[in-house]
Amino acid sequence: MTNHDIVIRMAGTAGEGALVLGEMLAQGFAKSGWDLMLSFSFDAEVRGEKPSYSQLRVSGALPRSQGEAVDLLLGLNRGAVESNLKDLASGGVVIYDGRPIDLFHGEEAYFPALPEGTRGIDLHMELISQKDLGFPSAKNMVALGCLARVLGMPVDVFKTLAETRFKKKGANVIYSNVKALDLGYAHSIGMSPPYAFREKVGSKLLISGNRASSLGAMAGGCTFYAGYPITPATEVMEQLAHDLPALCGTVIQAEDEISALGMVLGASYAGHRALTATSGPGLSLMSEMLGLSEAAEVPAVVLDVQRGGPSTGLPTKPEQSDLDMALYGGHGDTARIVLAPTSVAECFYATGKAMGLAQMYQLPVIILTDQFLAYRRETLDWLDPAGARYGVRLSPTPDELKDYMRYRLTDNGVSPMSVPGEEGGSFVATGLEHNEHGGPAYDTETHRAMSAKRHRKLASAACEKWFFSFGDEGADVGVLAWGSVAGAAREAVDMACASGVKAKGFYTVYLSPLPEAELRAFIGSVKTLIVPELNQTGQFARLIRERFLIAPVSLAVPYAGPFPASIILDEIRCQHA
């Protein structure tokens, strides 16, 4: 077999090292120049008998989705094998431990009931790591060594990675892990490897959505971050806490999300490009400050890494159910920009751009990602910092400072904004309705003028566009997706077209304001519009229905995981029939 689009799943229970295993295998591929997507499935508990796995999809080009049928399954324990067998592809390979050490039942041989057409490799991970090495926690490295052999990759790549990863833990730990890799590799030396992933020229960046968002923020000029730890957004704060001070920026951990966005507004008012990142429960708390950002016209950027809701919900699982809150959450009429990147690279550029958009339009910009997009790793050739730098804040001219009007009514709604310390620019930023000078005013005329001004800014922002269309232009069936589901939609459309079923697709990174003309054209060009999304009520389909007065097919399905491309493909086929 020389198939170069394969799905590898490494499964275990929490704490057994399945995630580290996936990460290191992915690093090995990236260093060897292969394109891949690595995703994770785990529960909210750090330990305990909870199933977790990492799934790696490698192919000639960057995969658009996590992949479904598993070609190569590695189970770190019996249960991990059993619970994942159902996803095994025909012709798949299973690496399992046929001699697990069981303290209560003695040593029992184990043979998984393999489906027809699949085959197993018995690797004594526990015996090797515990008896031969005396280092039980290196079980996953034994497995990694074996995987290297099966995939036809040199084991040295992983030895180097182990040396780097375990550097801080000392020579003993490095030695045991490197030895474990060798033993795992040697175990399968006799067989002819089913795969041959030879080293290619040039190594790739391997980066997660959260890390890309953090780097994008910094490239976009972020100099202030305040946040409160929350899964699955914490990684953003961790990265910025480490890196932002090196770029002369400030990071503060607030006492809650209300305070976090409050600090962001304060820093922004004082002239900085400021960011906070959170997830659904935090965004709920922030709705008050979002309103203040809109009323007082103080720029702010909020990255919402969505997870399953409502309430505490599913902290480690993705969902697209914060769209309504991002668009409308809070009291009063809301006017905000909402961006939804669809890939790791887009996380970088969207976050950078958001830092600038907030400055240009002096309103909150919300970026919606989700746990799947935020945690998954993708390979990239490079990320261009200059491409993430965008926009500037409009400052008052010396003339305007003679009788400074902070909230002056302008054609596009944007008024010059002074910064504390600036002579002649003093004003009171306020959440009260106000006149052009910023003084409280409650009359109809002022309220109408100021409401219109705030929404005029959003209308002006409609000139910002970022969308992508794909598939067969002549198709009658269209798929309109957003966020992390767009990748699955693209894959489904490609598969449909490849199988002779005409389909096309469209996604827009801007969810507010929407690219009205382009969307209208796309919607008008198809007979059926499918809107797949990872939620129960079809929030995006509802938005499209309301905005364009059409009846899309809402394919709204909550999963405790990423949206499968096959569901979209089935729907495309179903709509054709």
Binding site: I258, S259, A260, M263, G266, P385, A429
Partner: protein, 279 residues
């Protein structure tokens, strides 16, 4: 720059009732800023919501009239973004101790170089007299017709107990005294908190000017402001409501110092090499 006078800070026309304590506070703020010679362009007043929180609108400077209970986080963001700004927070008793109580305790821990004035009229004035966190137990109001079931909160006691570096109480009926306290508070390096008693002549029929005239007393002569136990004892005195500096201690690093330290520790970085780490 010529020496500032009170008039350099005056702007607008206050909207408070006649004899409102906030007039005294406003005058004390003007006087303290003039004495400290703070350039109005470098002065930021951040407030929440309530009668006293309208104060920034009557001072010629940069202001942020924010949302109920949240001036402290906003002021923290401003101060950390630009430590050169003199940053004051005006927050009522409901604002600072009720809805914003969660922020106050952390602002004390965080020790940003901000002066927080807790303006206490003993009730919610803007909504016409409901009990606030400083309303005495048992008082009948429109929302507690059978008596306030909650004990009042002693902000001086709270602040000293939490380790605030500067804790004082002033009275808007004694503008000179309040001005002197505000000056010391602003000069203090780190978080300072001033409990400013500000009678509400419209809704507060209990704690009137007359009531305070009998209760308020200056802290005993020779009170050691570095003695925390003494400060706590004086804060809970049953007979007198003391004014003056209860507790003052220097030496704790401010948040700005620590942020500067983080920048030094992190060294000089660049975004391209940060990206390349992932290769």
């Amino acid at each position: 720059m010529p020496k500032m006078t009170m008039l350099d800070y005056r702007v607008g026309k206050p909207i408070w009732c006649s004899f409102c304590g906030n007039y005294g506070l406003l005058t004390a703020v003007y006087m303290a800023m003039a004495e400290l010679d703070v350039d109005p362009k470098d002065l930021v007043l951040v407030s929440g919501i309530g009668c006293s929180s309208r104060l920034p609108g009557f001072v010629k400077n940069y202001g942020f009239h924010s949302v109920h209970g949240r001036p402290l986080p906003i002021a923290t963001g401003i101060k950390e973004a630009n430590p050169a700004l003199t940053t004051l927070v005006i927050s009522g008793d409901g604002d600072a101790l009720g809805i914003g109580g969660g922020h106050l305790i952390h602002a004390i821990r965080r020790n940003a170089d901000i002066t927080c004035i807790v303006v206490d009229n003993g009730l919610y004035g803007m909504t016409k007299g409901q009990p606030s966190p400083t309303t005495p137990f048992g008082v009948a109001t429109s929302t507690t017709p059978y008596g306030n079931p909650d004990e009042p909160l002693n902000v001086v006691l709270l602040a000293v107990a939490l380790g605030a570096g500067f804790v004082a109480r002033g009275y808007t009926g004694n503008i000179e005294g309040l001005k002197a306290i505000l000056q010391d508070a602003v000069n203090h390096k780190g978080f300072s908190i001033v409990h400013a008693i500000s009678p509400c002549p419209t809704f507060n029929v209990r704690e009137t000017y007359k009531y305070y005239t009998n209760k308020i007393a200056e802290l005993p002569y020779g009170h050691n402001t570095e003695d925390m136990a003494d400060a706590l004892t004086l804060a809970v005195d049953g007979d007198n409501i003391y004014t003056g500096i209860f507790y003052k201690t220097e030496g704790r690093p401010t948040l700005e110092d620590l942020m500067k330290g983080a920048k030094r520790a992190a060294g000089q970085g660049d975004i391209t090499s940060m990206i390349e780490r992932y290769r």
